[in-house]
């Protein structure tokens, strides 16, 4: 069981770092998606009443 603590620490760090990166990436994607939805909603409103956009 020599150095098992070091190995566990290294493995955990790798998993946590990759997981954090993935969560960050997912959040970025979600933000983009939401902004796009918002824009589409504005555009739809804009088409019915063009004056709103001015």
């Amino acid at each position: 069981m020599q150095y098992i603590g070091y190995m566990t620490a290294a493995y955990i760090i790798i998993w946590v770092a990759i997981l954090l990166y993935f969560l960050n990436l997912a959040k970025r994607e979600k933000d983009i998606w939401e902004e796009l939805q918002g824009l589409r909603a504005t555009l739809n409103r804009g088409e019915s009443t063009p004056q709103d956009n001015v």
């Binding site: 020599q2 770092a17 990166y21 001015v54």
Partner: protein, 237 residues
């Protein structure tokens, strides 16, 4: 609109399968190294991370050169994403390296060629990311980053040679052992390399799809701004 991005999905599945088997390969299948014990098992994750770091930075340089040559936005997106994913794996290398070094070399950090090169690459590509964040104009930022990506890549052999001349430590021995491995360790090691390659590709494709969406969003936003400006002018006339 939200299309499933097939390459990211396929590589992601393969990476997940690999990652599920990798601990078994590293811990059970591969034999125990006599002197280093469990610390040696860090290498099954550390070295593949280093390979992926090099692939990421090399891809960044290639796409950077293509971007400067062809001036196509898509190459810039690929260069940016390769650099970011390369930086992720570079960070993993820098985090796991000292954890291995502490029990084996007795110290967290040694200024040997490999370690110094990795640290310098990390610094260069953090600067690359800063150049991305602090630029005022996205077209200019793309060109500047491409220039830095190429310069950083060209610097790699020079940094390596310099630090080798500067400090000739023990890594040769260690790395020699690493590749003169018994067959079981070798198989486990190459399995991990393959798994990390899948992971790398999955993250890269995913990252590119996010960046493309971001790029699309930005162009829609600027188009809306333009239209509003025109409408505004019409309104005031």
């Amino acid at each position: 609109m939200r299309r499933p991005y097939i390459p990211a999905f396929v590589f992601g599945i393969l990476a997940l399968i690999g990652l599920a088997i990798a601990p078994y390969m590293a811990l059970m299948y591969a034999g125990m190294e006599k002197d280093m014990g469990f610390a040696q098992k860090i290498f099954y994750y550390h070295v593949p991370s280093a390979f992926m770091m090099y692939i990421g930075f090399a891809l960044c340089a290639i796409f950077s050169a293509l971007y400067l040559y062809k001036k196509d936005k898509k190459y810039d997106i690929w260069a940016l994403c390769s650099a970011e994913v390369g930086l992720l794996f570079c960070t993993l290398v820098l985090l796991t390296g000292p954890i291995w070094a502490k029990p084996i070399w007795g110290t967290w950090w040694v200024w040997d060629a490999q370690l110094t090169l990795t640290l310098m690459l990390w610094l260069i590509f953090v600067a690359y990311m800063m150049l991305h964040s602090y630029s005022e104009d996205s077209l200019q930022s793309a060109k500047f980053r491409a220039v830095l990506g190429i310069i950083g890549f060209l610097d790699m052999p020079l940094i390596h040679y310099a630090t080798k001349l500067w400090r000739t430590h023990h890594p040769e021995v260690v790395r020699g052992e690493e590749f003169g491995l018994p067959l079981d360790m070798k198989i486990a090691f190459y399995f991990c390399v393959l798994t990390f390659l899948m992971l790398f590709l999955a993250i890269l494709f995913k990252r590119v799809s996010v960046e493309k969406a971001h790029d699309e969003l930005e162009s829609i936003k600027s188009e809306i701004r333009d239209r509003k400006a025109i409408l505004g002018q019409l309104g005031s006339d």
